[in-house]
């Protein structure tokens, strides 16, 4: 089995109200010095057998169209070698 991890985050210039709310909660719960919180998403994708180049290309294509919206989000795709 191969495992692919795709992390999706709002582009840095876009305000993240969820992150802002979490930042407020961290402060209220006693964590001092927090300057910023950004909230993202992680997709853990398990694939049967070894990944071939065709599957990897397809994963990149879908990460940039379905999993992330390039208008507002960036994504990073990596293969989890420990899986």
């Amino acid at each position: 089995m191969a495992r692919v991890i795709v992390d999706v985050a709002l582009k840095p210039e876009i305000l993240d109200p969820q992150g802002r709310a979490v930042q407020g909660a961290l402060g209220r719960l006693g964590l001092t010095g927090v300057t910023d919180v950004r909230q993202g998403k992680q997709f853990v994708i398990d694939v049967d057998g070894d990944l071939d180049q065709e599957q990897l290309n397809k994963l990149h294509e879908l990460a940039g169209s379905l999993l992330a919206n390039p208008v507002i989000e960036d994504y990073e795709l990596r293969i989890d070698e420990s899986a």
């Binding site: 709002l10 876009i14 305000l15 993240d16 109200p17 969820q18 802002r20 709310a21 379905l66 999993l67 919206n69 208008v71 507002i72």
Partner: protein, 227 residues
């Protein structure tokens, strides 16, 4: 002829019945379409109504975009058919790339529900041609993710080419760039907006009858074109 205007129902759509009723009150024949069927049933125009299609999973409208009916809607829109996206429907139009930009979580972090004043900035589109130039209208708004965003270049292009169709007045309820409430494509047949015209079509339950103007505009465009 009586214009046939479709309303698409996705799993999680809320306002399809209201939209069907608005179509009827606006003088057209409503036709119900199911997201899973790749068939537009020979309609003349399509409305993607509001709600929470697919539970807003992944991103609002991100999964609906790939529904079988949407391939047909995209083709028809590219061929010039009037298509209107309301709220979640606007989000779907953006995810489908029929309209530029995206809708983000409200700046205030709150779901906003209010009667919202808007200015009609472009009365030349398929859905706004019966409004006066710069007419002010009042229709309900209800969203948690209505903050319109596009990159600087796109915003400038929308503004320079008159493609901002509706602008929020008095209050910007969600942090949308340039107070943008609704936009259109280059051709003016595809319009998306966050507020809900289908909830302002009857004096008993709406704050005005201003929402009917979108339907009568489409009817005007469709029947005028065939005459």
């Amino acid at each position: 002829m009586t214009a046939r205007i479709a309303v698409v129902t996705f799993p999680g759509t809320l306002d399809d019945r209201d939209a069907m009723r608005a179509v009827e009150l606006g003088g057209a024949q409503p036709v119900s379409l199911w997201h899973g069927e790749a068939d537009l049933k020979n309609v003349d125009a399509v409305i993607l109504p509001g709600g929470f299609s697919y539970g807003d999973y992944l991103r609002c409208g991100a999964i609906s975009r790939f529904a079988p009916v949407m391939d047909k809607v995209v083709d028809a829109a590219n061929g010039g058919m009037p298509v209107l996206g309301i709220c979640n429907g606007f989000q779907i139009l953006c995810e489908s790339h029929l309209l530029p930009g995206a809708l983000l979580r409200n700046e205030s972090r709150h779901f906003v529900c209010r009667d919202q004043k808007l200015r009609v900035e472009n009365n030349q589109t398929a859905w706004t041609n019966t409004f006066d130039s710069e007419q002010e209208i009042l229709i309900p708004l209800k969203n948690g993710e209505g903050r319109y965003f596009a990159d600087e270049h796109t915003i400038a292009e929308l503004e320079d080419t008159g493609r901002v169709v509706f602008r929020y007045l008095d209050v910007n309820p969600n942090g949308s760039l340039n107070d943008i409430a609704g936009i259109t494509n280059e051709r003016g047949n595809v319009v998306g907006l966050m507020p809900h015209p289908e909830h302002a079509v009857e004096s008993l339950i709406g704050p005005s009858l201003d929402g009917l103007g979108l339907i009568t505009s489409a009817v005007n465009q469709l029947t005028g074109a065939s005459a």
